[in-house]
Amino acid sequence: MKIKEIFSQLNIISQCKKYGLSLWQCPQFLFFIMGIFIIGSTLIVYAIGVRYVEDPQIVALIVILATVVLFIISVIITRSFERLAEANRMKSEFVSVVSHQLRSPLSNLRWAIELIMSGRLGKIEDKQLEYFKILKENSNRMKELVSDLLTVSRIETARIPLKIEKCSLEETIKQLIKEFEPLAKASNVKIIFKPQKNLPKILVDISQIKLVIENLLDNAIRYIEEAGEVKIELAKQDNNLLFQIKDNGVGIPRGDQKHIFQKFFRSGNIMKNQTQGTGLGLYIARAIIENLGGKIGFKSQEGVGSTFWFTLPIK
């Protein structure tokens, strides 16, 4: 597998195709050319140097010429990196614009469904109500996805607005557990919360931290297969608050672990059981925690469960 990976790295042309760039705009290809050129010019200079030892001027001239060519190639390489960065920025902007545009029709849809389901427009049959429920659930899922995409595009353009205030993480967690109680019950999951006593308040943007804990709690509950337990702990550790959430769910296969915080990544064993989820939750969580000066990580064993943790500095 490893050797195969190295060989695929060496296949420059297919790599450049993947980025959608022509060869002369592709950094890998240009580096390759530059390498060949350096080796070639060194050999030529050596050969000429051996032949014309008496006339160092020619050698010097060739070295200068080679330097100029190398300089030109490196300028082109830098430009090609700029193009890649620009393409990436445009992609983030595209996601942002599309998500914004999707919001209005989605609101219209959700509100129209709500109005029908409220019975204000006339009585609906039970059978119809079932189908309206499907419409409602799915439009809510779309809403969540769009809002995740917007958060991601804000992260990528470094535009996460922060409203920093002093707040109690303990209270926030209690409140969130209450909100998740129906989902937990439906999934046969017991949520246990054990906070240390006399924890200090911290300065954070609580709406962002909520987003993180929601994501972790949602994952913990959803990836428990039949029945189980989610344990949340909150403690002071040096100058940090340490949040830990432990589940006895499906766990993350070893091979997937290094990708778990990547955007749109979803673990293989999760895909088998779950259709919901966007692969954005943990990416967003990491960006938020790091933005607030904390750290995030996990331990996991397939079939046994996962423990996710994050720290936030007490200021």
Partner: protein
């Protein structure tokens, strides 16, 4: 009967939310762009204005500014109802004198209704 001026270019929203408000016993006046909105604020003297920000002809920021500049209309509470949620937009709108800033995507119809009732109390 309390009168609400609803300045919103999405006719679907005018229909659903307007219907709900009428059922709740409010008189709803609709404006599909900022220019008509401004005209109707003066003519109808509503108890509350619901205002979108992205509007044809005159945008919501300017509509809000003009409402708050005019002596006759500056005391009418304005609820901004939009899908813009960049912090700069929120700050700007609050600075211009809006009562509340609501992001459409974050609320259900019933929650919106509650907010409106509270403002009108």
């Amino acid at each position: 009967m309390k009168k609400i001026l609803f300045i919103e270019d999405e006719s679907a929203l005018q229909k659903t939310f307007g219907e709900l408000l009428r059922q709740e016993g409010y008189e709803v006046v609709s404006a599909l762009d900022g220019e008509i909105g401004l005209k109707l604020v003066k003519e109808k003297n509503p108890d509350l204005v619901l205002l979108d920000l992205i509007l044809p002809k005159v945008n919501g920021f300017d509509v809000l500014k003009k409402i708050k500049e005019d002596k006759e209309t500056k005391n009418i509470p304005v609820i901004v109802l939009t899908n813009l949620e960049e912090i700069e937009d929120v700050n700007k709108v609050i600075e211009l004198g809006a009562t509340t800033y609501l992001v459409k995507a974050n609320y259900s119809l019933t929650e919106l209704l509650e907010k409106i009732k509270k403002t009108l109390e």
